[in-house]
């Protein structure tokens, strides 16, 4: 009997389903347009406006659909709930802002980065919606392949190539382990769907329990690599330093947000948290990355490497909170979003500093070389950078504090006081390296070295635009998010 091409029972698109998928459709269109633009060797400005408009459009659509649409299922490969929409919207927002100041390499018209950026965003938006491991794997690859390529944007400079080579090799190596993990799941439960696996997990007994634990450990360690938790964070510092600034900032913020939320969704969907040893494993990684990440960050002399290790510390904070099921999701998303925006500001101001000091575009600045900045940069940027760093450190009047407070309250609610102590020690050490990087800018006397006229002053303008918008968003988002939290909490109830 002939099988009609679309078996309506599984893959049925209702009349108003296009509203749910509209942001994805917009992304698809964006990718197409940008590939065409790439082939026509469009200049940076055109690429920037195009990618910014598509990405911000997608973000608006995601947030709009958050209020109007309910849950949308597409077989087991996509489930679009309110939380996934917020995550996707956030990712598009971050991508849009970081695409504003991407600069193609100076020698050749590299205009492909637009398409790659959009494909990477697509991957990130899809990841939390996956409800079976095959889809999860594919979205993960859709996310990481363009990431490897984007970090090789300045392909004539050794640093950028080395960073992307490292990221690629490590990424491929780790995805093999990820595959082994999901095939173990498949071996135990006979299917990749999360529900089937959760049934199998509860039924597992004795030695099979250990097998499930190894499967979960393999899967989680490969995802921990993506999010740069402690033992698997070695690549982070090199890629942050090597990759071009906007790409590094986008990757730092967006990957953490998307991967962490998909871990929370997938692991609680599969019921993996109640396998003995898993929550201990995750918490152990969290503690290690908070403490050792902070210690590493204290010794860094370069701003971008310090931001990499602060990324490890913040990932550690989230890992401490992870194994408490689905209720943890809103605070995790809030925390990571504010973290991403702050990192974005840091990289943006770093880029402006590069321009003003007349350094080559992929150079990364020593923290104490910021001293000469005082004479060349208007204090507005220094205040911005101070704002971002102190918000990362979690000093109260700044939004970073509120989200960290909500995160820590989850720990307090589950009376995990040891973890709370570790988190507080982490914040204290965090104070160390955030303030230490503020010190040369603010406290040392200004050295008025010669003023260099930076030829790409125009891009400076866009940088300022970014910083300003991010700054306002940050404050706005920091506060309103918390009010919005309640309404989304109801939405969460299935």
């Amino acid at each position: 009997m002939p099988i009609d091409f679309f078996d309506s029972s599984i893959f049925y698109l209702g009349p108003d389903d296009w509203k749910n998928l509209s942001p994805f459709i917009l992304l698809f269109a964006g990718i197409a347009v940008l590939v065409v633009a790439a082939s026509m060797r469009a200049k940076d400005l055109v690429l920037r406006t195009l990618s910014f408009s598509f990405l911000s459009g997608a973000a608006v659509l995601f947030f709009a659909s958050l209020l109007s649409q309910g849950r949308f299922f597409l077989g087991s490969s996509m489930e679009l709930g309110p939380m996934e929409r917020i995550v996707a919207g956030g990712i598009c927002l971050i991508a849009a802002l970081s695409s504003l100041y991407v600069r193609g390499p100076d020698y050749a018209r590299h205009s492909e980065w637009g398409a790659l950026l959009l494909i990477c965003v697509l991957g990130m938006c899809l990841l939390p919606t996956a409800r079976n491991w095959v889809a999860f794997f594919v979205y993960l690859e859709v996310l990481s392949i363009p990431a490897y390529l984007l970090s090789a944007l300045y392909s004539n400079r050794e640093k950028s190539l080395e960073a992307s080579m490292k990221y690629l090799m490590m990424g491929a190596f780790v995805s093999c382990f990820f595959l082994l993990g999901i095939s173990l799941f498949f071996a135990v439960s006979g299917s990749f769907k999360f529900e089937a696996i959760s049934v199998a997990m509860t039924a597992a007994a004795g030695p099979q329990q250990f097998l499930c634990f190894t499967a979960v450990a393999l899967v989680f360690s490969s995802l921990a690599f993506k999010v740069s938790l402690f033992p698997f964070h070695f690549w982070a510092a090199d890629v942050y330093q090597g990759a071009p600034a906007p790409i590094a900032s986008f990757l730092a913020g967006a990957t953490k947000l998307s991967v962490f939320s998909s871990i929370v969704l997938a692991f609680s969907e599969c019921g993996l948290w109640d396998i003995p040893g898993v929550s201990l494993y995750v918490k152990l990684l969290g503690v290690l990355s908070v403490v050792l990440g902070a210690v590493m960050a204290l010794t860094q002399s370069r701003l971008r490497r310090m931001l990499a290790y602060s990324g490890v510390v913040n990932a550690g904070f989230v890992a401490l909170v992870l194994p408490n099921g689905l209720s943890v999701l809103p605070s995790v998303i809030g925390f990571l979003l504010v973290y991403a925006l702050s990192v974005l500001i840091c990289f943006a101001v770093h880029e402006i500093a590069l321009l003003r000091l007349g350094r080559s575009m992929d150079d990364d600045l020593e923290i104490n070389s910021f001293v000469e900045l005082k004479s060349k940069l208007s204090p507005f940027y220094l205040v911005l950078l101070g704002f971002a760093l102190l918000s990362l450190a979690g000093i109260p009047p700044l939004p970073g504090f509120f989200t960290k407070y909500v995160l820590l309250s989850v720990l307090a609610k589950n009376s995990a006081f040891l973890l709370l102590a570790v988190a507080l020690i982490g914040t204290f050490l965090g104070l160390g390296f955030y303030l230490r990087s503020l010190v040369p800018m603010a406290l040392y006397p200004a050295i008025d070295s010669k003023k260099t006229n930076s030829e790409t002053s125009s891009s400076g303008a866009s940088l300022t635009a970014i910083a300003a918008t991010v700054f306002s968003l940050l404050v706005l988002f920091g506060f309103t998010y918390l009010q919005g939290l309640i309404s989304s909490a109801e939405l969460m109830a299935r």
Binding site: M170, F234, L280, M296, G432
Partner: protein
């Protein structure tokens, strides 16, 4: 009975001080001196009016005092301190002494400081001192007495350090202030006991506490009485320069002589004894402390006398004689008769002030040279100062019918009645020593040939200086008549005043001596002291370097029995060193070290960790496999 005038006694010197110190600040001694003297005279006038007001009032003993309530200084919980001024019989006498002698000294110092470059500072401090002393005397609440007590300490610090260019003056000032502060701790403890156990700071109510039976049986712990009396005694020893804490008085001579006369002879040093006389009923409740006072007084009298004998500086001799006379007053208190002590306070104030001012005019004449070895033969160059100095010396050794005779004789009588013959003989020995060193000083200064060109050129000071001398000489001759022993008829003004000031709380005086015993005592003391005086007069005329004490004792006494060095060695140096050591240990090494150490430790471990980041992809991959399998293995074993 409410009398508004009391506040003006206090405000006059205060205004003087502010006028001189802040507003005028002019350079000439005449004008600032005049302002200051005027202020103290106004105070004297008001106090005379107040005293007449008080004597006119002869109501029942509990009511015969004047009150002038000003404002509540502080009141919180069990501590209620109203800032009221009060005039009782005992305070009225003290008031007259302070303002009287104060004004005389003001007049004296106008000329004494004629060639100073900032006399306004001196006069404003002197007026401030008067104000503080008046607060001490007039206060009705012990806490306000403490205000005066510390204020007086501050002014003595400022005045001793008046010539602040020379570092040893300021060192002497600091020493005085700090030793007084040691005493103030005792006063504070007494205050705390008063407020927490006796529920009041008011002197009159405190005295009533002694005989209201309800309070006594309400179970105040005995240690409260002892701490109260003990700490008061401790405070008095510091302020009135007794054995352990007298070291600041001889150094205080670094200040100008009028200061030494007013503060370190007449008023401040006696405030300790005055305070104990005012709260005597409470003090007498603990006989152990009274005996302690007796022996402290006795040992101070002897020690100071022994040192005074070998001193070469005239002001030092007078300083040690003050310490020894204060010892006498403590002995009187110890013998259980505050009246005798108070009488000696008044007489001593007069003749000691006289002696100091006379010495001052001698020093003034000798162009600020104080060494007796440079003096000699001044009797014909400074006639009036010589006569006054002679009267003062006679008064202090107790020449019959002079002020000293009556008060010293009364103390000796009381001691004989209370402690028996042994106490009497000891005190008599001290009195004889006093006679010895006083006449030594007298003869060295005024008799024999002039031993230096200063002595040749010495000239009599101007009338402004010797007029107060004459007044004081007159006083020290006739003030004694206020209190006659039974033998000479029943004229006991001082005892009535002292007893009546305890708001009717009578404390029985010791048994009375028979007339025969009194005659005998008077005879022995005056004969012996006169013979000693004559002998020392004769010896020192011929041989100025004669040593009264045998050799080992003489060397010790010239070095003031090394008490200062002992204090320095045993108390001040070790505590300072220990303090510095503790602070270095607790602050620098442990806590600072901890703070910096932890920072360096994290920095170091960070650098150690950085070694892991070799940069090659394969080490990163190696780490990935190694760590994941390590943790998985560990957790597997853990969950087994």
């Amino acid at each position: 009975m409410i009398f508004e005038g009391l506040r003006w006694i206090l405000l006059a010197p205060l205004l003087g001080a502010v006028l001189n110190g802040v507003i005028l600040q002019n350079k000439s001694a005449k004008i600032s001196g005049l302002v200051a003297t005027l202020a103290s005279l106004v105070a004297f006038g008001f106090s005379v009016v107040a005293c007449s007001q008080l004597s006119g009032l002869n109501s029942a003993p509990e009511q015969n005092f004047l009150i002038d309530p000003l404002f509540t200084w502080m009141s919180s919980g069990h501590v209620y301190v109203p800032f009221n001024l009060e005039l009782t019989s005992i305070t009225s006498v003290m008031l007259l002494v302070i303002t009287g002698i104060g004004s005389l000294i003001h007049i004296y110092s106008i000329s004494y400081l004629s060639e100073e470059e900032s006399p306004w500072r001196f006069f404003s401090y002197l007026n401030l001192f008067l104000a503080a002393m008046l607060v001490l005397v007039l206060a009705s609440n012990l806490a306000v007495v403490f205000l005066g007590w510390e204020g007086v300490g501050l002014c003595s610090y400022l005045l001793i350090g008046y010539w602040y260019k020379k570092p040893e003056n300021t060192a002497a000032g600091m020493k005085a202030f700090i030793t007084n502060r040691v005493g103030d701790i005792g006063f504070l403890i007494a205050l705390f006991v008063a407020f927490s156990f006796f529920q009041t700071g008011d002197i009159s109510r405190l005295a009533e506490r002694v005989n209201d039976y309800a309070f006594l049986s309400s179970g105040v712990p005995t240690w409260a009485w002892y701490t109260f009396a003990g700490s008061l005694l401790w405070a008095a020893t510091a302020k009135s320069a007794q054995i352990p804490l007298y070291i600041w008085l001889p150094d205080a001579m670094a200040g100008p002589t009028p200061v030494s006369a007013l503060i370190h002879a007449a008023t401040m040093v006696t405030s300790g004894i005055f305070l104990i006389c005012r709260v005597w009923p409470l003090f007498a409740m603990s006989p152990v402390i009274v005996d302690a006072a007796f022996w402290i007084g006795m040992s101070t009298a002897w020690l100071a006398a022994l040192i005074a004998v070998s001193q070469t500086d005239v002001k030092k001799v007078l300083a040690y004689s003050t310490v020894s006379q204060l010892g006498f007053m403590f002995v009187a208190l110890g013998a259980g008769s505050p009246a005798a002590a108070f009488f000696h306070v008044i007489t001593h104030a007069c003749f000691k002030a006289l002696l100091f001012l006379a010495a001052g005019s001698v020093i003034h004449g000798m162009h600020h040279k104080q060494e007796m070895s440079l003096m000699g033969g001044l009797k014909d160059k400074m006639k009036i100062t010589h006569v006054c100095f002679l009267i003062g010396t006679l008064a202090i050794i107790g020449f019959p019918l002079t002020a000293g005779f009556f008060s010293k004789d009364m103390i000796l009588a009381k001691v004989f009645a209370a402690q028996g013959v042994f106490g009497y003989i000891l005190l008599l020995g001290a009195a004889l020593l006093t006679a010895a060193y006083m006449f030594r000083a007298y003869t060295l200064c005024f008799w024999g040939g002039a031993r230096s060109e200063y002595a040749q050129k010495a000239h009599e000071s101007d009338p402004l200086m010797y007029m107060p001398l004459v007044v004081l000489a007159f006083l020290s001759l006739f003030i004694g008549w206020l209190e006659l022993p039974e033998v000479f008829g029943h004229f006991t003004k001082i005892t009535d005043w002292v007893h009546s000031s305890w708001y009717g709380v009578g404390v029985g005086e010791q048994a009375h001596l028979s007339h025969l015993a009194e005659w005998l005592l008077m005879l022995i003391t005056s004969v012996l002291s006169l013979t000693v005086a004559y002998y020392s007069f004769k010896i020192y005329q011929r041989n100025p370097e004669f040593k009264i004490l045998p050799e080992p004792l003489h060397k010790w006494s010239t070095n003031k029995f090394y008490v200062d060095e002992a204090f320095e060695l045993l108390l001040i140096k070790p505590s300072m060193k220990a303090g510095r050591f503790i602070n270095r240990i607790s602050d620098e090494t442990t806590f600072n070290g901890l703070a910096n150490g932890s920072f360096r430790f994290t920095r170091l471990s960070g650098r150690l960790l950085a070694l892991f980041h070799t940069g090659s992809v394969q080490t990163y991959a190696w780490h990935f496999v190694f760590w994941s399998s390590l943790i998985v293995g560990a957790i597997f074993l853990w969950t087994l």
